[in-house]
């Protein structure tokens, strides 16, 4: 496995996570108290938007929050949660 991707697995293990299912390279489910769908983004490697969308849809369909694992080119990992946003009508604005 790519050494940078491996860093994510190591980092998660160190945080007490267990990888429960590998879906494909850079996409897996891990759990600690809750299950999360992890998607790895390596610094400098652009992923098509539709691929991110596919991951968000998968997360929705299996009711699992999506976490993006950002890996710097020397292996430092930062996590962001991501979700499709559906805004309600703004109730604060009247008569506009």
């Amino acid at each position: 496995m790519d050494v940078l991707e491996e860093q994510v697995a190591r980092d998660l293990k160190a945080r007490g996570f267990k990888i429960v299912e590998k879906i494909e390279d850079g996409l897996f489910i891990a759990e600690k108290n809750e299950r999360y769908l992890f998607y790895v983004l390596i610094e400098g490697v652009e992923k098509p938007l539709r691929q991110l969308y596919r991951v968000l849809n998968l997360g929705e369909s299996i009711s699992t929050p999506v976490i993006l694992a950002l890996v710097s080119n020397d292996g430092v990992v930062t996590y962001y949660s991501a979700h499709k946003l559906k805004l309600p009508r703004n109730i604060h604005v009247e008569n506009i």
Binding site: E43, P48, I67, Y80, K84, L85, N90
Partner: protein, 182 residues
């Protein structure tokens, strides 16, 4: 109401019309005044400056007519001026319209290093606007894009939003991000 196109912005010269447009949902900015609250509007005599996308939205809704000298600028012509001068104008306009149609107040995001800042109640009232970062539709997404978005919003709010327009449907897609402490 009547606005005058001056370069890439539209000016409402008549103070009464300027106040009326601003009150419809914080459209535009009064010259030399920032974050004007609705109850402060009636004291102002300044002209109102509308961004091109704001003017286009108001023109499409039949609220505003835009003139250059004494010639009326049709809506399609206004759109063309935007398209020829502002990068990704059509997509940015669709995103602007998406938020406005849902009743949100949309202002420039420049001071946040983003496309738009979006308010529920209005600038100067909401303390933390939604910071919206534009993602060009045919571009991919990178780790740096996301980390940068996080930096923009740290001082404002912990979540930030990417907006793009899906092709070929032209559907506006919003993705919310938040730094995750695992």
């Amino acid at each position: 109401m009547r606005g005058v196109l001056r370069g890439l912005a539209v000016v409402i010269e008549d103070p009464q019309e300027a106040r009326a447009i601003y009150k419809r949902g914080f459209y535009g900015k009064f010259l030399l005044k920032d974050k004007v609250k609705l109850d402060e509007v009636d004291k102002l005599e300044s002209p109102l400056v509308l961004a091109l996308y704001e003017a286009l939205y108001l023109a499409e809704r039949g609220i505003l007519e835009v003139y250059e000298d004494d010639k009326k600028i049709e809506i399609e012509e206004l759109r063309k001026i935007g398209r020829e001068n502002i990068k990704n104008f059509d997509d940015i306009y669709l995103i602007y319209k998406h938020f406005r149609d849902l009743g949100y107040i949309v202002k420039s995001g420049l001071k946040f290093g983003a496309l738009f800042s979006v308010y529920e109640k209005g600038p100067g009232i909401d303390h933390a606007p939604m910071v919206v970062v534009f993602l060009e539709p045919d571009r991919g997404i990178s780790a740096t894009d996301i980390a940068r978005g996080g930096r923009l919003s740290h001082s404002v709010r912990k979540t930030f939003t990417f907006a793009t327009v899906l092709k070929p449907s032209n559907e506006v897609a919003l993705i919310g991000f938040r730094w995750a402490k695992l």
